[in-house]
C-alpha cells in the first residue's frame, strides 16, 4: 500500500508570497490532520494534490500517482470538499449530489442510489429533496461532504470542514469525519486551524507554518503529559490555597483554578485530603495536558501563547 501522500521539497511561489517552501513530508493512510494558521499554505497544498495547481518546484505523489501526469486518474479516486461552501443554492440537494456523482463517471442509476446513500450517511436523508439555499450553514457543509463521498473515493480532502458551524454542528461534523475514517475504509486529510479538532479525530498530523513543515508525527506522540495538577473548588479557593501553603505545597493561582506541581501520585491524595478536610465542593481535579497549541507558541512572535488549554475543558 503506497504512502497516502508523499512530497519532496515541494515549493509554490506566488508573485506576492511563498505559499509552500520546500515541503518534504510522507503521510500514511488513515485520518490525517493538516494544521496551520490562516495562510500557512494548507489550501495551496490541497490544490496541488488535486492537480489544480502546478507547483513551482519539487515533486508530489498522491496514492502513488503524480498529479502533473495522471491528474484525472487521481481525481476519479479523490473526493474534495472546498473551504468555502460553493454550492448552487437553487438546486435540490439530492439532484445536485446525483449530478456530481455522474460527473465522477458513475452511471445514472448508480449515481442516484449512491447520492441518496451519501446524504443518508451525512444525516440529511429527510431533507434531501429540499433546495440547498434553504439549508443552514451546517447542512450545507454536510451536502459539500456528501458530494465528496458519493463516488466512493479512496482519499477525502476536507478543507476546514467545520468552518462556520455552531458547536452542535462542529461535533456532528467531527463525529462524521471520524466515522468515515474508521468505518468507510477511506483515508481522510482534514485541514483545520482549530487545533482541538485535529487532536480529537486524527491519528497523525502534519503541522505547517508559513509554508514550512513544523512537525509531522502521530498525534499520540505529540501530546505528552505535563506534570501540573489543576484543582478547582466551587467555594473557599483562598482557604484551600492557604491550607496547602501551610502544608508546604507550592500553590499558584490562575483565575478560578489552583495549579500544584505533581511530584508523585501521592499529590492526588494530598489534595483530596485537603479538600475533604475543609469540606469544600470539589469542582475539578486533573492533570493539565500539553496541547498541540504549544507547537505554535514558540513560532508566534515571541509571545508564549498559554491560550485555551482546549485539552482541559470538555475534551478532557
Amino acid at each position: 500500500m503506497p504512502p497516502l501522500i508523499q512530497t519532496q521539497s515541494l515549493t509554490m511561489r506566488y508573485p506576492s508570497a511563498l505559499a509552500l517552501d520546500a515541503l518534504t513530508v510522507e503521510v500514511e493512510p488513515g485520518v490525517v490532520g493538516l494544521v496551520g494558521a490562516n495562510g500557512a499554505g494548507k489550501s495551496t497544498l490541497i490544490k496541488i494534490l488535486l492537480g489544480l495547481l502546478q507547483p513551482t518546484a519539487g515533486s508530489v505523489r498522491v496514492l502513488g500517482l503524480d498529479p502533473a501526469r495522471d491528474a484525472e486518474a487521481i481525481r476519479a479516486r479523490v473526493g474534495y470538499m472546498p473551504e468555502h461552501s460553493s454550492l448552487p443554492l437553487d438546486m435540490v440537494a439530492a439532484e445536485f449530489v446525483t449530478h456530481m456523482a455522474r460527473i465522477s463517471g458513475l452511471p445514472r442509476a448508480a449515481a442516484r442510489e449512491r447520492a441518496s446513500e451519501a446524504l443518508r450517511h451525512v444525516g440529511l436523508y429527510e431533507e434531501r429533496y429540499r433546495q440547498i439555499g434553504g439549508y443552514s450553514t451546517g447542512m450545507r457543509q454536510r451536502v459539500a461532504l456528501a458530494q465528496a463521498l458519493v463516488h466512493d473515493p479512496d482519499l477525502l480532502l476536507l478543507d476546514e470542514p467545520t468552518n462556520g458551524l455552531d458547536p452542535a454542528g462542529r461535533d456532528a461534523m467531527l463525529g462524521l469525519v471520524e466515522r468515515i475514517g474508521a468505518d468507510f475504509g477511506m483515508s481522510v486529510l482534514v485541514c483545520s486551524h482549530l487545533l482541538g479538532e485535529v487532536e480529537r479525530i486524527c491519528e497523525s498530523l502534519v503541522a505547517i507554518d508559513a509554508g514550512r513543515l513544523l512537525r509531522a508525527d502521530r498525534v499520540a506522540s505529540m501530546t505528552r503529559r505535563r506534570d501540573v495538577l489543576v484543582v478547582e473548588v466551587d467555594e473557599g479557593v483562598e482557604r484551600l490555597a492557604a491550607h496547602l501553603d501551610e502544608l508546604g505545597v507550592a500553590v499558584r493561582r490562575s483565575g478560578r483554578e489552583l495549579l500544584v506541581p505533581l511530584e508523585s501520585d501521592d499529590t492526588f491524595d494530598l489534595i483530596m485530603r485537603a479538600v475533604a478536610g475543609l469540606g469544600l465542593p470539589l469542582h475539578r481535579l486533573g492533570q493539565r495536558r500539553h496541547g498541540i497549541v504549544e507547537l505554535f507558541a514558540d513560532t508566534s512572535a515571541g509571545r508564549a501563547v498559554e491560550y485555551a488549554q482546549e485539552a482541559d475543558h470538555g475534551i478532557g
Binding site: 490562516n38 483530596m272 475533604a276 501563547v305 491560550y307 478532557g316
Partner: protein, 307 residues
C-alpha cells in the same frame, strides 16, 4: 421610566418574516462591558444585531440605543459602531483610505489623527498603505473593526468577529474588545464558537430559536440550572469499588463504568461536590481526575438548545 442614554435597551422586541419568527419577544439591557451573544446558526443573533444597528425595524416591541430608537435614525451612528457579518470590504482602497473615509463620514474634527489612532490600535500601522484586496482574512477583519472604532463609539456591535480567525488573531481581537470596554463602551459581539465567548466575556446572552434562553455570567447560568443532573467524568485507582460507594450516595442519580473511568450523573451539584472527597477518603481510593464534562459553555448551550 425613560430609557437611559448609557445603555442599549430592548423591551419585548420581536421580528418576523411572514410567518417565520426570527426574534421572539426579547428583552435585555446592555451596560458598559463586553457581552457575548451566543446561539446556534439561525437562532436570530444576526437579526437582533441588525435591529440594534438600525438596519432592520422590530416587528413589535421597543428598542433604543443610547436612549433613542436606531431605525431610520442615522444620527445614532455618532455613538454606534458596527462590524457586520458580511466580510466584504472595498478592496481597491488602502486600509488608511478606508478608515479615513469612515472618519470623514462621521464628521470627526481631526479625521487623520483618529484614523492613525484606530489603525494603531489594530496594529495595522505597517500595512495600512497596502490595498485591502491584498489583506488576509484576519487583517481585513481588523481593518473593518478599525473603521467601526474610528469615532470612538460608546456602543460597539460585532457580528461573528472571530469567524475564520486562527488562535493568535483571536487572542488579539479579545484583548482589543476588553480595552474598548474598559474605556466605558458597551461591546456586544455574536458568536457560535465557544472558545471565544468563554475567553472574552464572562457575561453571556444566549439565544435559542429566536428566544432569549439565558443571560448573565455563564457559570452562574450553569448554577441556576442545578435542577438538572450534572455529569462528572472520574478516573480512580479502583473505579468499580468507587462506583459502588457512590451509588449509595443519595445525591448520585447514576453511574456508568467505562474503560476510561466512571461517568457520574449527580442529582444535586452542591451536595455531590462536597460528598465526593469524603467518600474517596473513606474508601481510601486514589482519584486521578474529576472533570465536570458538561460544564463548559458548550454544554450550557447544548442543554438550552435541547429544551
Amino acid at each position: 421610566m425613560p430609557p437611559s442614554t448609557g445603555t442599549v435597551e430592548l423591551h419585548g422586541v420581536s421580528r418576523w418574516y411572514g410567518n417565520v419568527v426570527a426574534v421572539n419577544d426579547v428583552s435585555m439591557t446592555l451596560g458598559p462591558g463586553v457581552t457575548g451573544l451566543l446561539g446556534p446558526n439561525g437562532a436570530g443573533k444576526t437579526t437582533l444585531l441588525q435591529m440594534m444597528a438600525g438596519f432592520l425595524p422590530p416587528s413589535r416591541g421597543e428598542l433604543t440605543v443610547a436612549g433613542r430608537p436606531s431605525w431610520r435614525n442615522p444620527e445614532i451612528y455618532r455613538v454606534l459602531g458596527l462590524v457586520a457579518d458580511r466580510e466584504a470590504v472595498p478592496g481597491f482602497l488602502t486600509a488608511w483610505q478606508f478608515v479615513l473615509a469612515s472618519a470623514r463620514l462621521h464628521e470627526l474634527p481631526d479625521p487623520e489623527r483618529a484614523t492613525e489612532r484606530a489603525l494603531g490600535q489594530m496594529e495595522l500601522h505597517d500595512a495600512w498603505h497596502r490595498r485591502l484586496g491584498t489583506y488576509s482574512k484576519g487583517m481585513r477583519q481588523r481593518a473593518r473593526v478599525a473603521a467601526a472604532l474610528v469615532h470612538q463609539p460608546t456602543v460597539l456591535l460585532l457580528d461573528e468577529p472571530f469567524n475564520g480567525m486562527d488562535p493568535r488573531q483571536r487572542l488579539h481581537m479579545m484583548d482589543l474588545l476588553h480595552r474598548t470596554a474598559d474605556a466605558g463602551a458597551i461591546v456586544l459581539f455574536s458568536s457560535h464558537i465557544l472558545e471565544e465567548v468563554e475567553q472574552v466575556s464572562g457575561t453571556v446572552q444566549v439565544m435559542v430559536a429566536g428566544r432569549l434562553a439565558a443571560s448573565g455570567d455563564y457559570r452562574s447560568i450553569r448554577r441556576l440550572m442545578t435542577h438538572r443532573p450534572h455529569v462528572f467524568a472520574i478516573r480512580s485507582s479502583d473505579d468499580r469499588r468507587l462506583a459502588v460507594a457512590l451509588m449509595a450516595e443519595p445525591a448520585v442519580a447514576g453511574v456508568d463504568i467505562g474503560q476510561s473511568g466512571l461517568t457520574v450523573r449527580a442529582g444535586d451539584y452542591g451536595t455531590f461536590a462536597r460528598a465526593l472527597p469524603r467518600i474517596v477518603q473513606r474508601e481510601r481510593i486514589r482519584v486521578r481526575q474529576v472533570t465536570p464534562s458538561d460544564e463548559s459553555l458548550e454544554s450550557v448551550f447544548a442543554y438550552l438548545v435541547a429544551q
